[in-house]
Symmetry: C2
């Protein structure tokens, strides 16, 4: 393994000088020496040892992507296309800027802190909803933190999310414009502060804006997996006069559509449905799903941008970004 020492020896200078050249602090090094050093680095194939760097400089160039789970079950957070697509973007942009991406699932604040100190992590991305206790643990940290789709606010913690309220409002209004009156809202169980809650509020507001009384019995909760949606479907079918469903996520909508079809309910003839997210699946189901589009790639790159700004120590322009959404009309909504 070739080290800075080897480069120093070959070029006849000290380690410090080599280090300075490598790190661009070469204002006190002659142009000729710089060239000699750079040549040697290329020739010998020198690559910096990040561990040694991290040890001495307290900065590791490691960025953590944290998957916060409440219970450590076997569920695979990567099954969710959001996380994965997001991580793909993250990896690319971080790499282009000299950073490294580590994935980590944590269940408790202690686990998170241990991870941070294990590696001197320079910055954190988060998805998932927090319990307050967990969020409080984040507060004393000084490294940049970017939360994705979390409706929590704090001064030094950034946030990137969507117009969840607006999107859901648009979707619901769209159904109302098409003559629907009795509209259900289906979602995973939600708490104050999550995306799902915002989407629920959008649904509710759209109803009242159109003088349709809000009926709590039309709000149904279920997990997003196929089996849960099957059960949900059984709850949905008996509801009298129901003509439309707003789903808080496309996956749910798609699973629901499949289950409904199996039970002989045809879409959109018997029931209209709108989703949220516009994942690639939405175009491919039958009928193609009318949904609220979000640009996941943009979300990823904006999130990294926020992170990099803070890492470089610049004064961040914004600490709260809300990305626009767009209603995509396909064929899962019928005009009454």
């Amino acid at each position: 393994m070739v080290t800075i020492k080897d480069i120093a020896q070959v070029t006849g200078v000290s380690c410090t000088t080599v280090s300075n050249v490598i790190n661009g602090k070469d204002h006190r090094v002659s142009a000729e020496t710089i060239e000699r050093i750079n040549d040697a680095i290329k020739e010998l194939g020198y690559v910096p040892n990040m561990s040694a760097r991290a040890l001495v400089s307290n900065s590791s160039k490691v960025i953590g992507f944290i998957n916060h789970v409440v219970t450590k079950d076997d569920s695979n957070f990567m099954e969710d296309p959001f996380h994965s697509v997001f991580i793909g973007v993250l990896e690319r942009v971080l790499r282009e800027n000299g950073y490294y991406l580590m994935l980590r699932t944590v269940a408790t604040a202690e686990e998170l802190m241990a991870f941070l100190r294990n590696w001197n992590v320079d910055g954190l991305f988060f998805t998932g909803i927090f319990k307050d206790a967990f969020f409080d643990a984040l507060a004393p940290l000084t490294i940049p933190i970017v939360l994705v789709d979390s409706y929590v606010s704090d001064t030094h913690i950034c946030n990137i999310g969507l117009e969840d309220f607006k999107g859901s409002h648009m979707a619901t209004s769209h159904l109302i414009e098409r003559g629907h009156q009795k509209i259900a809202f289906v979602s995973p169980s939600f708490r104050e502060g999550g995306v799902v809650h915002a989407r629920f509020c959008g649904y509710q507001k759209a109803l009242t804006d159109n003088r349709i009384p809000f009926d709590p019995s039309l709000v149904l909760e279920a997990e997003m997996d196929f089996a849960s949606c099957k059960q949900l479907c059984e709850e949905l079918i008996p509801i009298p006069d129901l003509t439309a469903v707003v789903a808080s996520a496309d996956i749910m909508a798609a699973n629901l559509m499949t289950c409904l079809r199996e039970r002989g309910v045809s879409i959109p003839e018997d029931l209209s449905i709108v989703g949220f997210d516009d994942i690639s699946l939405s175009r491919v189901v039958t009928p193609p799903l009318t949904t609220v589009h979000q640009d996941m790639n943009l979300k990823g790159s904006m999130a990294v941008e926020m992170m990099l700004e803070r890492l470089e120590g610049n004064v961040p322009k914004k600490s709260n970004i809300t990305l626009p959404v767009q209603l995509i009309q396909r064929e899962s909504v019928r005009t009454l």
Copy 2:
């Protein structure tokens, strides 16, 4: 930050002793001292600094997941559910065993080597197909390497994959049993040594096994994205007497189904189609897709198992695992 030194001071022993206790090399330490040290570790909240460890011990507990790309384009490798689900499993099992997962995209062997030396990476997972030159670069490495879905062979490099040939053979035979004779094979462009090639061979063999002459004009290539599939669809439609299609991946099959439907081709009435992989999407498209099932979670956990075996220095039981596949009959195949 609390270090080993602090623990040593508090408990009145040397750093070495603390280190030994932490690492379980405590056969020369009295039970009472061990307890004192462990108590102090808990009390002070000591967490090891992995960088320091890596520096001195040449082992970092970092496992790299390498996404090898030929050209550094903007495509997001995480869009492929295989990679993401696989990575999710990886993270979990590695973490449970005290390892850390770093994601990295590399385009060249040099980039890979640099990454390895940056972090003293302990082991590598790979997906994607290699050019031989790249594979040759891997050969001199001594760390454990696990390749996923790569048909290359070497003594010290492990491999985990599927019965691609068999799966494709099953799918094609299934079509033939149902009376189909003119069957197309659609796939991304493939080279010798990849999964797609194996799947192609299975298709071809099934034909000849059933005395159906292989017709090269029925083998069509296209990328897996929607636009490419649309184009592919246009090539498919004019083929006279075509009654069935074998797709080398579900994503392609799903995209194709959507495009075909838009062009007025109904499935399975006008055209039967089978996929490969059984991703979650397959159950949700209309009609539900008949496909070849693989257990991605199993694949992930087997891959980690192979890795861990080698990391712990045990003699590995196997260096080549081929996981079974299974034909899942849904509704995209019609009996002629």
